[in-house]
């Protein structure tokens, strides 16, 4: 494990890579320099805090603390997913329910099948992976919902005018949005190992685990993410499309 220790000096030198990004932003007049500085500062501070908090939680190995840690991850993921929703009538609880159910159901299957152990060292990183992917999928789902409602407004109105309930009127929109949300996970499952060596697998190989064993974990992660993003996308989509209608089942677009 000694070859995994990274010195502070190495990190400072690695900061040169950030200067490359800032240089490009400055030269190309992208106006991103301030954003890059803020993002780097946030990343360093957030990771430093998380590092110490995780060290404490892993050391204490307490079920309640682990549960609280997963809830914080889920809430943050939900908050960010909700912020990606362009609908003015968005509701944070939609994202919370979707990510909570998607994450805990997937975690439960993994623990019950003994794919992972119910210890913080395994549960917390896996929760982060699931919630993070769900956050991206749900964000895409919300954007696709909004675009589809604007593109297919006339079709929805016609279906409503014929006496359809709002769910049936939105079937094409729901299908399109869920598909959009799940596509990146499916695409990434298709190219895993060929184009990218994912974080989990790379981490294990870094730590000296036999690549054949590392692959087994990655296969589990692929299955897990497919299930979690499908659950997250379906739940969020079926909750969020209702926000485009008022109490009288009238379509309200801004």
């Amino acid at each position: 494990m000694n070859n995994l220790a990274i010195s502070n000096w190495s990190l400072i030198f690695a900061f040169a890579l950030v200067l490359v990004a800032m240089g490009i932003s400055f030269k190309e007049k992208l106006g991103l320099t301030k954003d890059i500085v803020i993002s780097v500062l946030r990343a360093v501070i957030q990771l430093a805090i998380v590092g110490y908090v995780l060290r404490f939680i892993l050391h204490v190995n307490n079920l309640i603390l682990t549960l609280i840690a997963t809830l914080i991850i889920i809430f943050n993921a939900s908050w960010n997913a909700n912020n990606r929703n362009p609908n003015k009538n968005r509701k944070l609880w939609n994202s919370i329910v979707a990510i909570l159910v998607g994450t805990y159901l997937t975690l439960a299957v993994l623990i019950l099948t003994k794919a992972i152990k119910p210890v913080p060292m395994q549960v917390i990183p896996i929760t982060g992976m699931i919630a993070g992917n769900e956050m991206v999928a749900i964000g895409l789902c919300y954007k696709a919902l909004d675009t589809s409602f604007h593109d297919l407004e006339q079709e929805v109105l016609e279906r409503l005018a014929l006496g359809s309930d709002i769910k049936l009127a939105c079937v094409p929109i729901l299908r399109r949005s869920i598909k959009t949300a799940m596509q990146p996970t499916i695409d990434s499952a298709k190219t895993v190992g060929l184009v990218n060596l994912p974080g989990m697998m790379s981490g294990l190989i870094f730590a000296g685990v036999n690549p054949v064993n590392a692959i087994k974990y990655q296969i589990m992660i692929t299955f897990m993410l497919l299930a979690a993003t499908s659950l997250g996308a379906v739940i969020s989509c079926y909750l969020a499309y209702r926000n485009y209608f008022n109490n009288e089942d009238q379509l309200v677009l801004y």
Partner: protein, 211 residues
């Protein structure tokens, strides 16, 4: 009284579209709504179809405030036909099976074929893609989509605008046949021949009030 609009106002953010509209419609009426562009004719139809709600005032259907009636149930009785309808799904059949689907009823193919023949389209049209239809054919399919289950009120928003004479004749014949079957009709039109044959004309002023 079948329908009663009482002191209805409608306004968007800054613009008043309709003001103090009062209109009573009895069972079996055929009312033709005319007025300059932008006077709010289509808005009245959309309000009656409960696709939008009045900013002020109330619309009563059979003496009940329409906001108190389940929207899907109400809209099956008060059917709104759009000026430029969109056909959905892939084929004509997808559109004509939808009214059965939303009522959770088994599709009656015989009835669909009968309706198609009423607008001079044969059964081969069922499998046609919507992109293969002309404007007139689309409007005819859309109209029978609204009429597969007989509504109480038919709201027609310039449904013959832009159609060739043949299609216009077919569409008007179908509408008349439903009027004879006791369907109340409220239509918006700019067509002079349709206006000249109208039973009751209601004129909207440019400021969105009724004359």
């Amino acid at each position: 009284m079948l329908l009663n609009l009482k002191n209805v106002y409608y306004q968007t953010n800054s613009k008043i579209i309709l003001q103090d509209v009062n209109l009573k419609i009895n069972q079996g009426d055929w009312i033709t709504l005319i007025g300059p562009s932008g006077s709010g004719k289509s808005t009245i139809l959309k309000l009656i179809a409960n696709l939008i709600s009045p900013s002020r005032g109330t619309i009563f259907y059979q003496d009940k405030d329409i906001s108190s009636i389940a929207p899907a149930v109400y809209r099956r009785q008060v059917s709104y036909c759009f000026q430029q309808p969109t056909l959905f799904g892939k084929t004509v059949e997808d559109n004509l099976t939808f009214p059965f689907e939303l009522r959770k009823q088994e599709v009656d193919s015989q009835k669909i074929r009968q309706m198609l023949s009423l607008v001079d389209l044969d059964a081969s049209y069922l499998t046609k893609k919507k992109s293969e239809l002309s404007g007139g054919e689309k409007q005819r399919v859309a109209l029978i989509r609204n009429l597969l289950f007989k509504p109480k009120i038919l709201l027609l928003d310039e449904v013959t605008a832009g159609l060739d004479e043949d299609s216009k004749h077919i569409v008007n014949k179908l509408i008349s046949s439903y009027f004879k079957r006791n369907v109340t009709i409220l239509e918006v039109t700019h067509d002079k021949s349709e206006i000249s044959q109208a039973q009751h004309i209601v004129k909207l002023e440019k400021d969105g009030s009724l004359k």
